[in-house]
């Protein structure tokens, strides 16, 4: 059983609001393919913008690709690469 960290929860909240996924975001595992779950490239742009707003960061151009938004875990790893620390607001 994994407890979702605060970072993870915030990512999932953004996905719920902007991802327009067919399935319930909470039930997805950390490495579930979001595109399989219904994430379109259109929606991924809104997710990206919302993540930037939520975490006060800016995705550089070389991180604006499918793999970064491929799963909850991938998003988390990208955010941490950009300096967001897990568990902190």
């Amino acid at each position: 059983m994994s407890t979702h960290s605060e970072l993870d929860q915030r990512i999932r909240a953004v996905l719920s609001a902007y991802g327009r996924l067919g399935s319930d975001v909470q039930s997805l595992s950390a490495d579930a393919d979001l595109y399989q779950a219904g994430l379109t490239s259109h929606a991924s742009v809104n997710v990206m913008l919302a993540l930037e707003g939520e975490f006060g960061i800016e995705f550089p151009d070389n991180m604006l690709n499918r793999s970064v938004f491929g799963s909850v875990g991938a998003i988390g790893a990208a955010l941490m690469e950009l300096g967001v620390v897990s568990g902190k607001p």
Partner: protein, 844 residues
């Protein structure tokens, strides 16, 4: 502010046009002029944008590559000038009609002005601040690239045509900043006049002018606020039109305000030129102040009403209670480098518009507000204007106080310039903002920003009573870019590669932009591209100027090639391999045929479409751009095609499948027209069928008849039934006036017919001697059908391109010399369906 003020007799304006110097520094190099090095200033010929100055000095052209963008650096302008001799009763003002975009201004070392909106004009009183001589004015235009690096909140949606999404924060034009379709010459610097004006006796602080029509009485209402050192005793308004003159004194409010109206009984109305005469009335004021009379010229106005009908998704424009089919194009500045044009150039450009039968021009939010000379020409010639505010596609930060205050000033000034102008038919909030939000995937609440639906609408209704306002160029329906409701950017025929029939199947109501094909210019212009004739469409230099959507894997030449295949059953890629010249000939014919077929459907009887504006009127730089006319002002094949289809009295053919060919005769004018319609069905040089009918087309009407009504036996003119092999090559319908003059012509080719290289269609081209202007008359004829005839004569431009010739038909064209050459030495006429071109024989 200048608004409609053309001239005040007691004001002396000196435009600071010459004596300027220019300096480029790295961004942020110096905060003020004192830090600059003396020696690096270079003299400027005449004041203008950086692009204009650099081009003038020979340091830059549109062909230059690898240079830094003008937006990368700070640009300094400096001039030394004498003070105006002042009088006791006057003021002295420094005016800046346009500064692009982030500009600091110093006068004699003191900070005078900070401007951050390219579209806002500034006037600064400098009475008493000027020396008699050697005043120094310094302007610094700060690097926009640097300003764009400042971190700001991201937009809710992205705009694919821009590499810089944060341009939304800056009030500046998108021209030169859209690498897919505009040349790399972003406007930087003083793009309008800088002037010094001494204003004696009286100043007009503000003015409002509005002409209205109530039943049969016209009224020109005027409201002024004046400022004068001595008492203003009276203000007389004088309205004139030809022999007619009417005067009225304005009433004072006891303080500074004067208002009143000049009434004109049964005024002559202003009409778009396709529907009537664009009658104008001049408005002047005579202000008696102190011991003198001061004359003020407020320009010209006209009496007309404009309404937009929007019942059930419709979008139809009615002028003077008459439905007008609006047709024309989206304006592009005549010189993208300087963004200026002389009155003569403006006149010539609008003349081309009128000659083509176009009656509306759209000034799009992608470009700039035009100069007064543009609106003067549209008023004078009867060309309607669809005027966007300079907002396009982006998520503008309208909640930002500084931004919206600046916009309010901008809007107020532009609206003041348009007041009383009969050409202004629709004022529109923006270009494609709602559409972009929706297409990008933003949710519905982003599609209708209150600023464009409410705020701007209110400002416009206050400043321009009676002029319809529309929130966005693509608006109406369940989503902004829904085609069969409201207005739309229609690219079904075009980028979305739908069949030509989609023009009517889509149920289009009004296209504020459409078609956008990569139109190949005439051979003489292709030669002018660096590399000249040997330049191939695959060459980087050609491709650089062919429009593209940055995010797409195709460009607009692919779109044109798709339709080339559809219309002519030709493999575009293969043809390009083996015969590039023939490929270009097909390309030009494609643009023309597709546009004629599209507009024929839109203008036909029963069409849902009430108007369409082609993107664009003119190319910004020489190449296969969207323009109907190339960057050198030369019409392309599609311009000539539209000229045939858009005249006030026109014959149009539509393919109705199993219903045969429909003939539509349209008459925009008030008076009815008696015409003779002639229908011919040809195969090779054999006339298979002939029919004639005399008709009266009532004013403001379209008539529709089936081609078969003119024949006494059935023919499968559209090749819909296919009872046997294709029996004919084409159908030609011609309309003649009672005096025998031909007033309209249209060709129809049955579906499934390609363009085969037949035996020589027997093209004959004979050139007469030249007249005193050097023009040559060319007579062209063909023994059998000649498809898409093109004339190439060294040093000359023909006034038609890619036109068809029916067997035995004779056409007379004018060939105009490009550069004053007085003798034509050689030329050829070629048709798509001829093996070899015909050499022009030169008589006399």
């Amino acid at each position: 502010m200048s608004g409609r003020l053309r001239c005040v007799s007691s004001h002396r304006r000196h435009v600071l046009r010459s004596g300027w110097e220019l300096l480029r520094t790295p961004p942020g190099f110096a905060s003020g002029a004192e830090a600059l090095v003396e020696g690096n200033w270079v003299p400027i010929g005449s004041l203008g944008t950086v692009a204009h100055c650099e081009r003038d000095a020979g340091r830059w052209t549109l062909d230059a590559t690898g240079l830094a963008s003008f937006d990368a650096d700070d640009w300094w302008y400096r001039v030394r000038f004498d003070g105006a001799p002042e009088s006791e009763s006057g003021e002295v003002v420094l005016g800046f009609d346009g500064l692009a975009t982030l500009c600091d201004v110093w006068l004699n070392g003191t900070s005078l002005l900070r401007s951050e909106n390219m579209f806002v004009a500034a006037e600064v009183p400098v009475t008493g601040q000027l020396h008699r001589s050697e005043n120094e004015l310094v302007l610094c235009f700060r690097s926009l690239e640097s300003a764009l690096k400042v971190k700001r909140p991201r937009p809710a949606w992205r705009v694919p045509m821009l590499t810089q999404q944060q341009l939304r924060w800056h009030r500046t034009s998108l021209l030169g900043r859209t690498p897919g379709w505009s040349p790399p010459a972003p406007p930087v610097g003083p793009w309008r006049d800088v002037w010094l004006e001494a204003r004696d006796f009286v100043s007009v602080v503000s003015h409002r002018m509005h002409s209205s029509l109530e039943l049969e009485r016209g009224a020109i209402s005027l409201n002024l606020v004046l400022r004068a050192a001595s008492t203003v005793r009276s203000v007389l308004a004088i309205v004139e039109c030809g022999e007619f003159t009417q005067e009225a004194f304005l009433a004072s409010d006891g303080v500074n305000g004067w208002s009143g109206a000049v009434l004109v009984d049964n005024p002559q109305l202003w009409w778009p030129h396709t529907h009537g005469t664009p009658t104008l009335y001049s408005v002047k004021l005579r202000i008696a102040v102190g011991e003198v009379d001061v004359e003020v010229d407020l320009g010209k106005t006209g009496f007309r009403s404009v309404e937009v009908g929007t019942l059930e998704g419709d979008f139809s424009i009615r002028v003077n209670k008459v439905d007008v089919f609006c047709r024309g194009a989206c304006w592009m500045p005549l010189d993208p480098a300087s963004l200026r044009a002389t009155a003569d150039q403006m006149s010539a450009a609008l003349e081309q518009v009128c000659q083509a039968g176009m009656n509306m021009i759209r000034v799009t939010g992608l470009t700039t507000y035009e100069e007064d000379a543009f609106y003067d020409e549209c008023d004078r010639r009867g060309v309607l204007v669809w005027q966007d505010f300079m907002f396009a596609n982006m998520d503008y930060p309208l909640a930002d106080q500084a931004f919206s205050s600046s916009v309010e000033v901008e809007v107020g000034q532009q609206v003041a310039r348009w007041q009383g102008r009969p050409c202004i038919a629709v004022v529109c909030g923006n270009s494609e903002v709602s559409q972009q939000a929706a297409m990008w995937g933003a949710s519905r609440e982003h599609w209708e920003p209150e600023f464009f639906t409410r705020t701007l609408a209110n400002w416009v209704s206050q400043g321009l009573p009676g002029v319809p306002y529309w929130p966005s160029s693509a608006w109406g329906g369940a989503f902004p870019h829904q085609v069969d409701a409201g207005t739309v950017s229609y690219y079904g025929v075009g980028a979305y590669l739908r069949t030509p029939e989609d023009a009517r199947l889509s149920g289009l109501r009004f296209a504020t932009e459409c078609l956008a094909l990569a139109n190949v210019p005439v051979p003489a212009s292709v030669e002018a591209l660096a590399g000249g004739n040997p330049l191939r469409v695959t060459h980087a230099r050609w491709k650089e100027r062919a429009p593209r959507d940055l995010a797409a894997g195709w460009d607009f030449e692919d779109v044109r090639d798709h339709y080339m295949r559809h219309l002519f059953a030709v493999d575009a890629a293969r043809l390009r391999y083996v015969d590039h010249d023939r490929y270009l000939h097909f390309a030009r014919a494609t643009s023309r045929e597709l546009m004629v077929a599209t507009f024929s459907q839109w203008r036909a009887t029963g069409s849902s479409c009430r108007g369409a504006l082609v993107l664009a009127l003119r190319d910004l730089w020489t190449g296969a751009g969207w323009g109907l006319i190339d960057a050198m002002g030369r019409p392309k094949s599609c311009y000539w095609g539209l000229r045939q289809a858009l005249q006030p009295l026109a014959v149009l053919l539509t393919d109705e499948g199993c219903n045969g060919v429909a003939v539509h005769v349209t008459n925009d004018r008030d008076a009815s027209s008696r015409i003779r319609l002639k229908l011919e069905v040809w195969r090779r040089d054999a006339l298979l069928a002939l029919g004639e009918r005399d008709l009266t087309v009532s004013g403001r009407c379209t008539l529709k008849l089936s081609a078969l009504e003119l024949l006494d036996h059935f023919m499968d003119l559209t090749n819909a039934y296919r009872f046997g092999p294709l029996a004919h090559d084409c159908v030609v319908v011609t309309a003649y006036r009672e005096d025998g003059v031909r007033v309209g012509e249209a060709f129809h080719f049955p579906s499934g017919s390609g363009v085969e290289r037949l035996d020589d269609p027997g093209l004959l081209a004979v050139a007469s001697g030249s007249d005193e202007k050097g023009n040559v008359t060319l007579t062209v004829s063909a023994a059998s059908l000649a498809v898409a005839v093109c004339i190439e004569a060294q040093g000359y431009l023909a006034d038609d391109d890619c036109f068809h010739l029916a067997p035995g038909q004779k056409r007379m064209l004018q060939l105009r010399p490009i550069d004053g050459r007085s003798r034509m030495q050689r030329g050829i006429a070629s048709a798509l369906n001829s093996r070899a071109p015909a050499v022009i024989s030169i008589a006399g």
